[in-house]
């Protein structure tokens, strides 16, 4: 239980905060300089923060020797990446996108 607190209790919040901090920085730079492409990159980084969250969860549970939980986190990660790829392909097919 203490191991969970150390690995997940610290790792997950750190991953979430790292992703949001990086995205916030990009968005602020983009807004300040008027470059919407940098703002868009910041939004993309923000939506990829859950990916980082899931990677940490999968690795963290693996380190705790909880294969089922690690597999579940990995499954959600694969599904999320599939959603990203599908959205990209559909948008390209429709000739839309940023």
């Amino acid at each position: 239980m203490n191991q969970t607190a150390d690995i997940l209790g610290r790792g997950l919040p750190a991953a979430m905060q790292l992703g949001t901090a990086a995205s916030a920085l990009l968005m602020l730079i983009g807004l300040a300089t008027g470059q919407s492409t940098i703002v868009w990159d910041g939004l993309l980084v923000l939506t990829l923060t859950p990916v980082l969250q899931l990677v940490v969860a999968a690795v963290g549970f693996g380190g705790l020797r909880e294969p089922r939980a690690s597999l579940v986190a990995g499954t959600v990660l694969v599904l999320l990446m599939a959603a990203l790829v599908t959205a990209t392909l559909v948008a390209r097919g429709q000739g839309a996108g940023a």
Binding site: L8, G9, P13, M16, P50, L54, A87, G97
Partner: protein, 270 residues
């Protein structure tokens, strides 16, 4: 710049109120953008999803650190939610704004009734006081609710994912009742668990809007920054705030929004 500052302020308020009321920012952000800033509903929904990712990352980290969120259960149920959200995000591109407005009106009516009930019915203090180690590993120490009627709960979370990406909300308004009613998860654990995975669900739906060009970066970015700020502050002050009167105020607001969206769906207002 003035518009960006207003969007930041609106996002902050939405993030703060969402954290205090436990409802997520989407139900506040979508009507704010549509009715307040005149944004098309489909673009408001896309921007709201991005803001929900921000609020989840802000408040969710706080709940994990305090062992309130059942990470194992949340990730298991999230399998269904991501599938629903991804499908919903693609589906939303096919729906007319009037249809979305009608669906959102229904959602606001449901949210308003839920909050009204919560404000009028005293919280189950015994349940809130019962210690539950949400972060306990699977096995003998795991909470009993974690495997109770799991397939049914998964199906419920697929629906939550669809609602999330079609209407621009986090889906917690469906996820929390599913956990409570189907699995018997205590309310404080269900709310924290939902908050932890809201960002994953919202991201799955947001990708479709992002790559379809349905998110205006200059609207979404200040909104997301504000929502992040508000949710971080809200998560910290929530235990010290008596939210009952805020909830009643929100019920009145929800009723007004439901009417406005209903009129929009009927083609009465623009």
């Amino acid at each position: 710049m003035e518009r960006e500052l207003l969007l930041f302020g609106g996002g902050t308020l939405a993030g703060l109120l969402g954290a205090l009321l436990g409802i997520g920012g989407g139900v506040l952000i979508v009507p704010m953008l549509t009715l307040g800033f005149g944004e098309p509903l489909s673009r408001s929904i896309g921007a709201s999803l991005v803001a929900v990712v921000a609020t989840s990352s802000g408040a969710g980290a706080h709940n994990v650190r305090r062992r309130r969120a059942d990470v194992r259960l949340g990730l298991t149920l999230e399998i269904g939610s991501v599938v629903g959200a991804a499908a919903g995000g693609l589906l939303a591109g096919l729906l007319a704004d009037r249809v979305l407005a009608g669906l959102f009106a229904g959602l606001m009516a449901y949210v308003g009734l839920t909050l009204l009930r919560r404000a009028l019915v005293p919280e189950d203090r015994a349940e809130a006081a019962t210690p539950v180690d949400a972060m306990a590993p699977d096995g003998p120490q795991a909470p009993a609710y974690r495997t109770r009627r799991l397939p049914l709960a998964l199906a419920g979370w697929v629906g939550a994912g669809v609602v999330s990406s079609v209407l621009g909300v986090g889906g917690g308004i469906v996820k929390v009742p599913v956990m409570r009613l189907v699995m018997g998860v205590p309310l404080h654990v269900a709310a924290a668990t939902s908050n932890f995975v809201l960002g994953v669900t919202a991201a799955a739906g947001a990708y479709a809007y992002l790559f379809r060009g349905d998110i205006d970066p200059i609207v979404a970015a200040p909104l997301a920054l504000g929502a992040l700020t508000g949710s971080i502050v809200g998560a910290r002050i929530a235990p010290r705030v008596e939210a009952r009167w805020l909830a009643i105020l929100f019920v009145v607001l929800a009723a007004w929004v439901a009417v406005q969206m209903g009129l929009r769906a009927a083609g009465v207002s623009g």
